[in-house]
Symmetry: C2
Subunit: 457 residues, 2 copies
């Protein structure tokens, strides 16, 4: 008999939100508690994200800190920040006590600096306080920023029986055990064990006899995205973190890595679409404008650059004014090819699956551009000449310009991200409006230069 | 003392590849084996991906099937397919014997149909053969296509001691235990237990007394991406899969879900960039052309559409020929705004974080467009009039057109993905060249219509 409690078919309906709002308004605490009791904390977080600030603060204060700590972790960051502003330092500290060190440090890091110290001083559990303070010192984009202090470790000198006894104590603080780390007496990481190995082993065995001496680990300063790549590549569900002396500091679990992967993918996607990182559809118009306007300005300057180029050639072309009709075709093609080329390179760099020399890759892109360009040019030539009645020589000009523009756009789209990556700059910035704009301008310039050469105006 | 074996600092160097090639050529089997022994199977797969087909087949045949099965799983799909074509059905079956059922089924599913039956009939382990055949029946994009048959399950009537005894046997086949599933005598899933709970419990307790009655599960026909969302939302590391009668069929682990998330993100990214799914930078020019040309053709037809519009107005505009210079500006802006709006909606839909009514969202986008449009229009007006010396009335026309085009592009970019999603079509197709092209054409049309109205030509 499966209870409803963690039913995965949870659906956030307007009725449910209205029901919660009504219970809050009428201060019907008992019924509210018993209603929310039936939901998973991630679901309650979704409900609270829909409520007014006052209402969600009310609900947070009503429920046990054991539940609300988990709810806060799952809430939208902006909403959580607002809720926390309405809680006292002592109330926040109570929530923090319930959280694992990594989540606790994440929440504290979001607070204004003066509140951080106040909240930390209100944490009663000394050990927890010390561990959180340690974690706060690490950059959030490093292994140290991802790791939790909660882990199960054993000394190589222990027996299996003694080990199981002590693990029973340690494991109470650890949500999921994954691996058991084996350390020497100086706390240096020397190997690992799985709970399974321990259960299968005989009680009187020494850990030193049964532990596995190969263990993957990362350094506390390693980049978070590198940690994600390592855990994915080697299919790890947890990885220990050590300092420069190989001392065991913490561990990172796969669920945190899933978030890193998702965030990285989201950020690259937004960059490619010309949106500065970290906005959501539900953010305010001001925040969305801040994220979108800079990229539109880049596009605008590109457009004005193109206007100057056209102006320049406009006076000269005389009878060939029809050339101007094909500017959008040239521009769209240059932009599309540039985005395609850069996206495939950025993705290859992100997945670490790109190999070979830059020259070989440019040659390949040029060839690819030639193939695509020939196809597009032929079709465009036939349509413009036979369907639109464009003069033969103009159609030829457009065709040759298309081929040149495609090859050029493909090469720019390939070169820029590789170049940025080699310089240590995130290649994803070179996608989207950035590449489209530069290709637009170059494309139009090439078009008119070719036209001038062929048509001799 | 950490051994080098699973050193995470593995780097694929040209020297290493050359060394392996040399050992293969000289048939120096012993040294080759002892060299590769030191690497993780995921690293060996990377090396093999760099070798010629003959060389990688040679290495695969040289090593034990225990290692090579894992290597094959990690290899690039195209390369793996080629290697498998060079192995006999019996050799493939030997690899399959070493793999978990989910990986085994994935590999068999890649084979041509006539070989599938041949390979399956060569699998000696009857149970394994039966389980793999069952898994092959499920669509790869469903929970059934992701799940493995390997899991640890216990009956509610067992005692803790008996349970531990039997788990020792079951667990040998299971790489990672995660959860222990509790079933009734009809194999219906009724709850779960963690290894930790079992270790902490007293030996004489009955499972029925200690198991947790709430358990998340998915149905075998559920969509793979939905399973990924559920596991992420509820931070699950494994989830059981049941049939319509609640019978336990298998389980899905988080490492498979990481792949689903990554693939989904990659696909959306490629769609936004105008590349059909599933290509990599290292694919052949033919494959890359097939993935890229269709989108370029869409862009080309858009460009030709724009050319017709310009042709139509060209004859009429007389003195206002300068309007044509600003076509690229209008087009770039329309394209950029459209991509921004659609990307943010597609991402919201993918993360399931989009709420509210379609009308409210369109209104918001219109407002946002107005804010961005006013900013862009003012700057463009100042630059064109004072810097370029464009006539005042033309600059005003361009400014008004920019505002209108931005608002329109934002609304189209918002509406189309939501509309597609409601129709059950993947909204990601509406990003990239698709949205850019339609916005280009509409944008240019709006521009000339507004110009005609204001300038009265």
């Amino acid at each position: 008999m499966i209870e409803e409690k963690e039913n995965i078919q949870f659906e956030l309906t307007d009725e449910l939100v209205a029901q919660v709002e009504h219970l809050v308004e009428t201060r019907n605490d008992e019924e509210l508690k018993s209603l929310l009791e039936d939901f998973h904390h991630a679901d309650i977080a979704e409900i609270l994200d829909e409520l007014d600030l006052d209402d969600s603060v009310y609900v947070i204060k009503l429920l046990d800190s054991e539940t609300t700590a988990d709810i806060l972790i799952e809430m939208d960051e902006d909403n959580r920040e607002k809720v926390l502003r309405n809680l006292s330092a002592k109330e926040i500290a109570e929530e923090i006590e319930e959280l694992d060190t990594d989540d606790a440090a994440d929440i504290i890091a979001e607070l204004p600096e003066e509140r951080q110290a106040e909240v930390i001083s209100n944490i009663e559990d000394k050990e927890h306080r010390k561990e959180i303070t340690e974690l706060l010192a690490y950059d959030e984009d490093t292994a140290g920023g991802l790791m939790a202090k909660e882990l199960v470790k054993v000394y190589e000198t222990w027996t299996v029986a003694g080990c199981l006894r002590r693990i029973r104590v340690q494991a109470k603080d650890v949500t999921r055990v994954h691996s058991i780390y084996v350390v020497d007496k100086k706390n240096k990481l020397i190997g690992r064990l799985s709970l399974k190995d321990l259960i299968v082993a005989k009680a009187e065995h020494k850990i030193a006899d049964i532990y596995i001496k190969t263990v993957d680990y990362v350094h506390v300063d390693d980049d978070a995205e590198d940690v994600a790549r390592i855990m994915q590549k080697y299919d790890l569900e947890a990885i220990p973190v050590v300092d420069s002396n190989q001392k065991l500091l913490g561990r990172i679990t796969i669920d945190d890595i899933v978030d890193v992967i998702r965030e990285e993918a989201d950020r690259d996607y937004q960059m490619a679409a010309g949106i500065s990182q970290g906005v959501e559809a539900d953010d305010s118009i001001l925040k969305l404008t801040r994220a979108r306007l800079p990229w539109l300005l880049i596009g605008m300057f590109g457009g004005l650059g193109a206007a100057s180029i056209i102006e320049y050639f406009n006076g000269e072309m005389g009878d060939f004014i029809v050339l101007l009709s094909f500017v959008p075709l040239i521009q769209a093609t240059a932009g599309n090819v540039g985005v395609q080329s850069s996206a495939i390179i950025v993705q290859g760099l992100a997945n670490d699956s790109l190999d070979g020399k830059i020259f070989k890759r440019l040659l390949k892109e040029a060839l690819l551009g030639l193939v695509n360009g020939l196809a597009i040019a032929c079709i465009a030539l036939v349509i413009t000449h036979f369907l639109f009645g464009t003069p033969y020589i103009v159609s030829i000009t457009v065709g040759i310009a298309l081929i040149s523009v495609i090859v050029m756009a493909a090469m720019i789209g390939t070169f820029i991200p590789i170049f940025l990556d080699k310089r240590g700059i995130d290649p994803a910035v070179a996608t989207g409006p950035f590449i489209t704009t530069s290709n637009d301008v170059f494309g139009i310039l090439i078009y008119f230069v070719i036209a001038k050469l062929i048509l001799q105006f």
